[in-house]
Symmetry: C2
Subunit: 321 residues, 2 copies
């Protein structure tokens, strides 16, 4: 049993790679919901959608979000009606939001809705939200405190970030499926996918019972660095690191996760960082991590899984210091 | 000032004809909301939409409902997700429903939302819902009591109708714009458009304060028969008349409206019914009423308006019996 924590595009790619090489009952993908928001009266879960669409093989890989072959009539008509158009909702994508919103309004949990959507999309592996309670990522910036999508989409991640807050995380708990996957006797590794540490992975880790469960884990935690040669393949991870006074590098990713993880996978471009990462007490695996094709996703998944088998749990409660 | 009461397609055509020949401040189109319903979490107002789209000139005249050049990606994706697809929602049409639902959820009245949508669609004339309170048409049928859209769309108006109920009408009042139009000193006629009497016009007339206002009117009420040569051009009006034991004819339309109207406009095909209609104490105007083109819509509007000028109020409180 593998538990993979994922956010948007990069995380979804590795999650899809893991799904390519693992049996349906051997993988639970836990997805960040800190960037969920209400928009036009709809409950939108961007990271869940990205992961679902990617695992279903219907994602628009050129654009990096949404559904391949999408049409935009709704957006066009909404613009004519004077509606808000800064967050692009494709016609096909809307079906997901409307189904989800309708089910939530009828009292279903986000987990239940997600399970239903995944079944309809013929996704065989478990995809679960981190929590069924609302957690909302707030970005403290040079322009004030911004709701996540205001920062990320409306303002195109341009404001300078001071810090990131996970509003509601203290009062939220992990979803039942997340918990039962972590508690599985067969759990062999927890993988932090190459998603933005601050915006995608940290909201999951901010849940108090997740922190506790990881402290008491018997399986290793392996992170895959989203920073390659000092840059993020996509999104503002490197920009945010600079803004909060950290050098954007896989070594700083290791330091960020240091108290939590047992090992870090870094790209071949960062081979020289290996000794410094190991000096932190972490195992380090150096391997190509850029996933441009389905084959590369599966190759990285296999590499991470093989590496995980050799990683002892060294950084949890009860381990020798 | 003309007040026109309208339901779906036929009513919308005459309303559009009236809009072609009347100044923007000389027409209020009051639209049935008895067939409004909640679907997929959205508030849908089919008659308001048909009237708005027709007045805006963006209606799909071949199909008879919806928007011309519509696309159907949402519906296709919804079907793949296992959602309800019996009520067709086009991608462009969805923008209307989402805007309306969002505004209603934020506390706006249906009148206010409708005004905003009309402004965005560049509709110059007033289009107002009959009421800002919910009235729901229920159809008592051989298959039990059906919500209007269940009867009309899902069951394609196939069940045999016993009677029609306007749930909530007793507790509802007409919208402010409807009231102020009826109370206008310049009101010169109230026109019942050629919509289904039972399903489109009766819900409006079922509002207690509409009944009272019409009883005390100083302007004539002129109905345009939706039954031509014993048939309805569109929809189940003739079928319902047969089912409730009435011969489908313009004369029976006259009898149905008899206590309320001062005059009836019937199609040239029904010229032989004129004497019988006049024997009911109503004025009768015989003229072509089929509106296949914009020109025919305007011609009928002009004809009805000219006729209205010659119709005295004979059937209201205070009139000689």
């Amino acid at each position: 049993m593998i538990v993979a924590l994922a956010g948007g595009v990069g995380g979804a790619k590795l999650a899809a790679g893991l799904a390519q090489v693992l049996a349906a009952d051997a993988l639970t993908v836990v997805v960040n919901t800190g960037d969920d928001f209400e928009h036009l009266g709809l409950h939108i879960s961007p990271d869940l959608d990205t992961v679902m669409y990617t695992l279903a093989g219907i994602n628009d890989s050129a654009q990096g979000w949404g559904i391949a072959g999408e049409t935009w009539s709704f957006m066009d008509a909404l613009e004519q009606l004077g509606g808000e158009t800064w967050f692009k909702l494709g016609d096909r994508d809307l079906a997901t939001h409307i189904r989800r919103t309708q089910a939530l309004q009828a009292g279903a949990s986000l987990s239940a809705v997600t399970q239903e959507l995944c079944a309809a999309l013929n996704i065989r592996h478990r995809v679960v939200p981190m929590s069924d309670q609302p957690v909302r990522t707030l970005v403290h910036t040079s322009e004030g405190v911004l709701a996540f999508q205001d920062y990320f989409v409306r303002r195109r991640a341009q404001p300078t970030v001071a810090r990131v807050e996970y509003d509601g995380a203290e009062r939220a708990s992990m979803s039942d499926e997340f918990r039962s996957s972590l508690e599985s006797r067969d759990l062999s590794a927890i993988i932090l996918c190459p998603s933005n540490p601050y915006l995608s992975i940290a909201p999951i880790l901010a849940l108090p019972d997740v922190k506790a469960a990881l402290r008491n884990r018997r399986a290793p935690v392996i992170a895959v660095s989203p920073i390659i040669a000092g840059r993020a393949l996509k999104g503002p991870a490197a920009k945010i690191m600079r803004e909060i006074g950290t050098e954007p590098s896989a070594l700083e990713v290791a330091r960020y996760y240091e108290d939590l993880i047992d090992a870090l996978v870094v790209d071949s471009a960062d081979v020289t960082l290996g000794p410094a990462i190991e000096a932190l007490g972490l195992r380090c695996c150096v391997t190509p991590t850029i996933m441009k094709t389905k084959e590369e996703r599966a190759e990285l998944a296999v590499r991470v899984l093989e590496f995980a088998q050799a990683v002892p749990v060294t950084n949890a409660a009860g381990c020798p210091a």
